[in-house]
Symmetry: C2
DNA sequence: TCAACCGTATTACTTGACTAATACGGTTCA
DNA sequence: TGAACCGTATTAGTCAAGTAATACGGTTGA
């Protein structure tokens, strides 16, 4: 049974996204494996002190990402494949960089050179791809 | 007098942010120079077909960025210094990269390696800074 | 079978962002 | 001085996101 021990009750952002992130992290870390039973919406809602629909929203998103399966009336289970694991990892990474950039956008831009470096690196990557080179 | 010709009427995002972006771009490009008279809130509101308060919100933000000055009852003027010009450029850059990352976050992550590269580069940058090195 | 679970759908409340309506006082210049 | 501008403040309307309240039907096992 997948456990919610260690869930960031006082975290940032919407609750349902924190749930999604928490499960993603478990999948990416290998803590959650294929076939693991997911706690029911009601159980999680009671544990976290939120409405079952908030959990449902998170579970729905995880289902759309291919990280779990649900059958009306029955229990829910984790669905971990090499692909979904890789996707989970990628999404966590993307979120991370998103936060960095978001922080930059507010912090008055003290690291412009880093930004410029990112930008030019991205361009080089694209151009190299167009030319069919690897570097 | 600063002109709003070329303003993206059908652009994306909140109107007041489009106004801010438009003026920033003018400053960064050198089209708007120090002392240029800014059109009044009412004039801009009539030109763009929005409420004067929407323009006021944008002008307020520009003022906080040091890109213009306002005196109650009197006209408003652009305030362009080397510093504010650089800041405007940096902010536009930051927005640009923010859009790129945001797009990545939605597009199903087809360029994970690029993301990972960005991430590791950023870490190296920070670690080098902590060690007091330049590279 | 039927009670106790399960997932699901519908609806409503709350909050913040964005914009508008309106009014107020300051500046300018004939 | 006073009309015509100006910037400013207050208040209200609109909309989407997040969350909650509630009810419905499906599954399971004694």
């Amino acid at each position: 049974m997948v456990s919610f021990v260690g869930f960031p009750l006082e975290g940032e952002g919407p609750i349902y996204l924190r749930i999604v992130r928490f499960i993603r992290a478990g999948v990416a870390a290998g803590t959650i494996v294929d076939g693991d039973e997911m706690p029911s919406r009601r159980v999680v809602s009671a544990t976290l002190g939120v409405n079952p629909n908030t959990v449902q929203k998170a579970y729905r998103m995880l289902e759309e990402e291919g990280l779990m399966v649900s059958r009306s009336g029955a229990k829910s289970f984790a669905a971990v494949t090499p692909e979904s694991m890789e996707a989970a990892r990628a999404r966590l990474q993307a979120e991370e960089i998103g936060r960095v950039v978001s922080a930059l956008r507010r912090s008055g831009m003290e690291k412009e050179d880093a930004m410029a470096l990112l930008s030019s690196l991205w361009d080089e990557d694209e151009q190299a791809e167009e030319r069919g080179e690897s570097e």
